[in-house]
Structures are given as C-alpha cells and as structure tokens.
C-alpha cells in the first residue's frame, strides 16, 4: 500500500507538472471547495439516526465490515448513531432510499442513473476516487490457465455478469461486446448474474464460468478478502471508463445534515491516520464532488442497450 501511495503521489505531481507545462488556456485542476465539517454541528430535532447502505458490489459480509469505520467516522461528526443496512441487490439500495429506510447510499453509476429515474429527489453527493482516478475501466477476465485470449475465443462458452444494474459488470461489458458484433445472449453457451464482482471472479477461479465482466478494483479486493492471486486471471479486454461509484442522500434529509455529511466525506484523505482507517477497507483514495455531466455517457449507453436485454 505504501508503494501504491508513493506512485499515486508521483502521478499527482506528474499530472500537475503536465498541466503546468501545457497551454495556458487550460482550467486549473478542480479543488475541494468545501470547508471541513463543522465541529459544533448538532443534529436537528427529529434527526436521531443515519442509515447507510451500499450496492453489494463485493462480498456483502466483507462489505459491511469495511463500511464500519466510515459509519463510525460519520457518527462522530453527526452526533447520531450510523447504522449500516444491507441491500440485496444493486437496485435494492434505490428502493430502500425511496422508501426512506436508508438515508445515505452508494450506487454504481448505472444503478444511480436508474434510481434517479425512479426517484428524481435523490441527491448525488460525492464520487469515489480510487486508483488515483474518479473513473475506472471494466475488465473481461478469464483464468490465466485457460486458452482464451479474446472475446471472440469465448464463443460457445459460459460468461458471468455481476448484476443488471452494474455498470462495468454488465452494461459497459455488453456495449463492448455489441461494438464487436457479439450478442451476449447467443454468443455464450450460458450467462449468469452472480450478484457481485468478487463472486464473478470466484466463479471464474472455480471454473464454474469461463469468463466474467468485473470492475478493475475486484482483483485486489479478492486478493484482500480471499487471498487469491490477481495473476491467476488474465485480462482479455477492457470496457470504456465509467465514473466511479457515488454516494447519494435521500430527499427529505435536513439540509444541514446533508452539508455536514458532504463535508465529512470531502475531508477524508489518506494523508491522515483517521482517513486511512476509513478509506483503506473500502480501497478508496478519497471522495470528490459529483460531476453530473460525467453520467451523461452512462445514461446514453443505458438508453442504447437497456431495451435490448
């Protein structure tokens, strides 16, 4: 991890140097304009508890564990207990929030786009940054020992998707296949939704499926959680990059609470011990304010392929 941090730092310096050296009409890099969380914050009347949920993009048990430091952190700034609520599927988070059972939830880009369609009051709050980027690519992986080198090699073999609301684990993988004239419904002998990225990787590792679509963070997550070497897998294709997951708050949450939560998220950094304690389990570098524009492409791809399932 320490080495990764150094690399991220070097990269950040490089990006800054790059920006400094290129044409002068470039915008300066975005900065966190938000002030730190208010230390004198007191919860408004009626706000007694914050419920937190997330799309089950990794193993749900492990995910709940990794969310605990975040829950404690938020609780410290909000002065109310923070409870983690488990969601059954990607779409379930949106449903829970719409019903008011969950106040704060994390979404994949696609599940956010779809939840927002159903619940326009949903408020996007902060974006994940990981691997030094607010975007990530999806990988199509096979087992290293398998003979498959390309998507085309997978004709007649089995394939695992994550969830119909997963961006890299489903939508962008389908878009990639369609761009190569591969219809996932007929090309493969069998497809299945495994529920999360780790489960998909595990299925490939176990030989239950020949290939899977995952997000790039699943490989280190599987290594962390199960000790499976990422080099057990071979990447044979990559999807276009999508925005990272994001946190949203439900409509109706007091405005000062929303502001305090956002400030608390944006204050998180791996440069502090507390930040590392919260962020490391999530394999996240930090958070940034949501750029709604970044989801335009996801909406377009969703509109293009959602009806072709």
């Amino acid at each position: 991890m320490k080495r990764r941090a150094w690399i991220a730092l070097a990269e950040a310096s490089l990006v800054l140097a790059w920006a400094g050296c290129t044409q002068q009409d470039l915008e300066p890099p975005p900065r966190q304009a938000e002030p730190p969380p208010d230390p004198d914050f007191r919860p408004p009347a009626g706000f007694e508890k914050l419920t937190l949920s997330t799309t089950p993009y990794l193993d749900p048990e492990k995910l709940n564990e990794s969310l605990q430091p975040l829950a404690s952190y938020l609780s410290r700034y909000l002065h109310v207990p923070v409870e983690v609520v488990r969601a059954n599927s990607y779409a379930h988070v949106g449903t829970l929030m719409k019903e008011g059972q969950v106040d704060l939830g994390s979404f994949s880009p696609l599940s956010y786009v779809r939840a927002k369609e159903n619940d326009p009051g949903l408020i996007p709050l902060v974006n994940f940054i990981s691997d030094g980027s607010a975007t990530s690519a999806g990988y199509i992986v096979v087992k290293e020992s398998s003979p498959f080198q390309t998507l085309e090699d997978l004709k007649g073999h089995s394939f695992a998707f994550v969830d119909p609301d997963s961006t890299t684990g489903y939508l962008y993988a389908v878009a990639l296949m369609r761009s190569r004239n591969i219809d996932e419904k007929t090309w493969f002998s069998r497809t299945e939704f495994t529920g999360n990225h780790e489960a998909s990787l595990q299925a490939v590792y176990d030989g239950r499926v020949d290939a899977a679509a995952i997000y790039q963070g699943a490989l280190p997550a599987l290594y962390r959680n199960k000790g499976i070497d990422p080099l057990s897998f071979r990447i044979i294709a990559k999807t276009r990059r999508t925005p990272k997951d994001l946190f949203c708050v439900r409509s109706g949450l007091p405005k000062e609470v929303v502001t305090q939560i956002r400030r608390a998220f944006l204050a998180l950094t791996v440069r502090t011990e507390e930040g590392r304690r919260v962020l490391s389990p999530l394999n996240v570098n930090g958070f940034t304010q949501v750029d709604e524009e970044a989801y335009t492409e996801v909406r377009e791809v969703n509109a293009q392929f959602a009806g072709k399932k």
Partner: protein
C-alpha cells in the same frame, strides 16, 4: 508603357515578392521551431509518464496503469493529445486512451521503431505528431507512444503568418512609396526632363537646355545633351549662313543672266527681244488705261560709209556713244533698245505725239551736236521715225510698221530729221 508605369509595376512587384518571401520564411522557421519545441516538451513529459507507467507495469497494477493513462489523456490537461498508448514489448496494447483497444497488436512502422529504440523517437505526418518513449524503471517494461494533433499549432502559425503577411504588406507599401519617390527624383524626373528637351530639339528648338541633373550618369547625359544642342545650333547657323550666301550669289547670277538675256552686248541698252516684250506690255497697258505712248525708231545716217571710212571698231564705238546719248537725252522711264545694226528703238510711255516729237527732235539735235567733232569731214546724224498709239496703230506690229515707215520717210526726205507716222503718210499720200 512609360518608365514610370514600368517602375510602378516593377518596384511594388519586387518589393511584394521580397517581403512575402521573408514573411513566409520567418513563419516557416517559426513553425519548425514551435514544432521542435512541442516535440521536445512532449518527449520530456512522456518520458516522465513512461517512468510512472513502468512502475505500474512492474507491479502488475493494471488499474493504476489504466488510471494513469486516463488521467494523462484528459482533454483539459493537454488538448493536443489525441491518444496515449502503453504497448508491452510484444507489441500489444496494455493501456490506451480508449480502454476497449486493450490487447490489440500494433504493428505499424513507427511503433516497431519505438519498441526497439532506447531513445525517444518521433514522426510527423500531416496534422499529427507521434512520439514514442521507452517506459523504464530500471529495466524496460513497456513503450509509451502518444499521438498529438498539430491543428492548434498550425492554426496559431496560420494566424501568425497572417499577421506577418499583413505587416509585410504595410512595410512593403512604405518601402514602395520611399523607393518610388526616390526613383522618381533620381531617375524618372531627370529622364522626363531629358525627353522634353530632346523632343524640343526634335522640333527644331535648339535654345532649350537641360538644367543641372547632379552628378552621375544622368547628369553627364544632360551635359552631353546640352553640348549636342549647342553644336547643332552652331552647325545650323553656319548652314543657314552658307545657304543665304549661295542664294544671294545665285540671285545675282540670275540677275546678271537676265540682264544679259535682254541687253545688247555692244551698247549696253536693251536688245531687240526686250524691246518687243516692252512694246507688247505697253500696248496692253495702254489699251487697258486708254493712255497714249509713242515709239521712236532711230537710225544712224550713212553708217555703212562711216564704217568703211573709220573701220568697224570706230563704228562700234559710235553706236556705244549714241546709246549713251539716248540714255542722257531721254527719260529714265523710256525704254531704249538696239533694234538691229545701227538702228535703235525707244518706247516712250505716257507720251503723246507732240511730246514724243519734241523729245525726238531734242535727241536728233543732241546727236548732231555731241557726236561730231567740229571740222570733221564726216558728220554723224540720225533719222527718227515716230509713231503714237493708238493713232498710228493699236497693235505692236502696226505701231512698229508705222514707226518704221516714218523712219523710212525721214531717210527718204534727206536724213537728220524726225518724221512722225502721220506726216509720213501725208508724204506718201
């Protein structure tokens, strides 16, 4: 086209060509320099990217490598970057601005060169610049190639070229104006002055002179013009003088010839031909004016005998002396001619019979008195026949016949006398 027109075309043409050439040369040099700077700058940045990429590849951190490529590829960081590619040493794409191109094999000449070169390589084709650098982290892990668009640079060069050309055009105008005004003073105006003077010389005006045109060839030419004009003028004056002299000489010769043609060689009075002309003219004049004139025929009496006695030279001398007497005794307006032999004829204009008769008598007496030596054996006398227009004839022939008849009558009646035509008729009658 005049020299001014030619210079008006030539000078701006040459100036425009020169300044345009300079402007294009400067902007081309600018383009090369800026492209070179851009290439160097991007090579250095890509080498830094290569170091970071190598670290990710070394750790097999595909997500980190992808994030690096995605971050560096951001349009706002470098609007000229078209694509950034990390290629492994087998020539396969392991990271790309477009992640879906992962695992593609790249086999173009440039990438092959980049894969084997230990130094940065670059290639410019059309509107694009490609740069390839090794991704080194102790050992070579991969190769980074990037494609940059030169459109912004070219647009900037085009703007710069436009400004240069505009500046060059303005400078050209100023140079043209200065050159043209200089040429006008140094060449055109002197040449026009020379042309004007030459034209005046051509028209025959040799007094016109070229004003001083300063030192140099044109000044020398002006002086030469002036010397030429002076020489031509002197030559012409000499020629005119010679022509006048020749004309005068010719005129005198003509006068002499004319005189010879109408003068009697012996006596110096008019000859027979001139007398005939004068008589005819006088008849015409008299018939027009209704005025009278008379004709006198004078003959030396016994001239043959005089000749025989004293010799022909004495006879000739006698005739000359008689002619002098005639000239002395008669009026300047009377025309005296030797009619032939010892016979003289005289036309007396505006003279009637009586006046003519008196003149003839005076003449006869003068001859008798002047031409004789007192006591000489041979006496010189004259007989005169006189006729008057139009009483005695109204044509030259008629008058001559009448005068001749009167002379005959004078001879016949004893010589040394004057007989009028009318009295001659009476004598005959």
């Amino acid at each position: 086209m005049g020299i001014r027109g030619k210079l008006a075309l030539l000078v701006p043409g040459l100036v425009a060509l020169t300044v345009t050439g300079v402007a294009l040369g400067v902007t081309e040099a600018q383009r090369r320099e800026q492209t070179r700077e851009m290439r160097q700058r991007h090579e250095q940045l890509l080498e830094a990217v290569g170091v970071t990429a190598a670290a990710y590849v070394a750790q097999n951190d595909m997500a980190g490598l992808d994030a690096l490529v995605a971050n560096v590829s951001q349009q706002r960081l470098d609007p000229d970057l078209v694509e950034l590619v990390v290629v492994n040493q087998d020539g396969r794409i392991i990271a790309h601005t477009d992640p879906t191109r992962f695992n593609e094999r790249v086999d173009d000449a440039f990438t092959r060169r980049a894969l084997t070169s230990v130094d940065p390589v670059s290639e410019r084709s059309g509107d694009q610049l490609r740069i390839g650098v090794p991704a080194n982290a102790g050992v070579r892990w991969a190769t980074v190639t990037a494609t940059y668009s030169l459109q912004r640079l070219n647009a900037s060069i085009a703007r710069s070229r436009g400004i240069w050309l505009l500046g060059a055009a303005l400078l050209g105008l100023v140079i043209c104006a200065l050159l043209f005004s200089g040429l006008y003073r140094v060449v055109i105006r002197p040449v026009r002055t020379l042309t004007r003077v030459a034209r005046r010389m051509g028209e025959g005006v040799l007094d016109e002179r070229v004003p001083p045109l300063g030192a140099g060839e044109l000044g020398e030419l002006g002086e030469t013009f002036n010397k030429m004009a002076a020489a031509l003028k002197a030559q012409r004056e000499n020629l005119e003088h010679a022509v006048a002299e020749r004309t005068r000489e010719l005129s005198e010769a003509n006068q002499r010839l004319e005189k010879l043609a109408v003068t009697d060689g012996l006596t110096g009075v008019f000859n027979h031909r001139r007398f005939q002309e004068a008589l005819a003219q006088e008849v015409l004049r008299a018939s027009r004016t209704q005025r009278r004139f008379s004709v006198m025929m004078v003959d030396v009496d016994h001239f043959k005998r005089f000749n025989d006695t004293f010799g022909h030279p004495a006879g000739d001398e006698l005739l000359r002396r008689l002619a002098r007497t005639l000239e002395q005794e008669l009026r300047a307006t009377d025309l005296i001619a030797r009619y032939g032999g010892e016979e003289f004829a005289v036309v007396l204009p505006d003279t009637d019979k009586d006046v003519a008769l008196a003149a003839a008598e005076r003449l006869r007496a003068a001859v008798e008195a002047d031409l004789n030596v007192p006591g000489a054996e041979h006496k010189v006398t004259i007989s005169v026949g006189l006729a008057t227009y139009s009483a005695d004839g109204d044509t030259p022939q008629a008058i001559l016949i009448a005068a001749d008849r009167a002379l005959y009558a004078a001879k016949h009646s004893g010589r040394n006398r004057v007989v009028t035509a009318a009295s001659a008729l009476e004598q005959v009658g």
